[in-house]
Symmetry: C2
Subunit: 133 residues, 2 copies
């Protein structure tokens, strides 16, 4: 059994995917081991079909107007373990094993800039978050 | 110190937020303790400002065309610990403490439907993902 094994689609939910006016929906790529949100990209029906078949994340590039196998040039494929659909059917989460950095900058995640944070996180007090742990 | 404490914005990155043609950008809400992606909603400048000031996630409702304090009716506020910006500046991750279910259905997360998954996840072999752990 390899990571490239195809994904078993849940047909009940597959019919509930809602594509936007351009036939797209956003896919949030999440690292299944660390929980990090790695990137967000767009899928159309064809890219979702190819993702299901190949087990690697395939997106639709809006700028290049073509299918885009994540990792086809860098080798940093996203091996999809499961795909989640939200309650209104217009956004996906792709839980993946990342073969390497997700970001074109070489960072592990595209979300590597801290826009804002609470001061003195260590005093948050929840006991469970990164600031408290 | 309370969870409502305001967030300290990183002005260097705040200027790099790219709003779309409607003056919006998507915010991915992630549970800071479990790592679960809980929901996705839209922010405009005003909702981001109010999120930074209040420490609670505030969105822009596209259907109602008004600001929407998550939890204002349910009591299930999203207490924001930090906000991440992606490499191209058009998507946010809000790392939050969830006061209760994120989804209107009562589920913890809006992403509670499994669209697809690999068969025999236990044989994935990585040793670290939910299927292997």
């Amino acid at each position: 059994m390899t990571d490239q094994q195809s994904l078993q689609a849940n047909k009940e939910f597959l019919d509930q995917v809602k594509w936007d006016g351009q036939g797209l929906l956003p896919g949030i790529v999440q690292d299944i081991q660390t929980g990090e949100v790695l990137m967000v990209a767009w899928l159309n029906r064809e890219s979702l079909r190819k993702t299901l078949e190949s087990g690697n994340a395939v997106f639709w590039s809006r700028s290049r107007q073509k299918l885009w196998i994540k990792g086809e040039t860098s080798g940093n494929f996203m091996k999809v373990q499961s795909i989640l659909l939200d309650c209104d059917g217009d956004t996906l989460v792709l839980l993946c094993h990342a073969s390497g950095p997700a970001c074109h900058t070489g960072e592990r995640t595209c979300f590597h800039r801290v826009l804002a944070k609470k001061e003195n996180q260590a005093k948050c007090g929840c006991g469970g978050c990164p600031g408290c742990g």
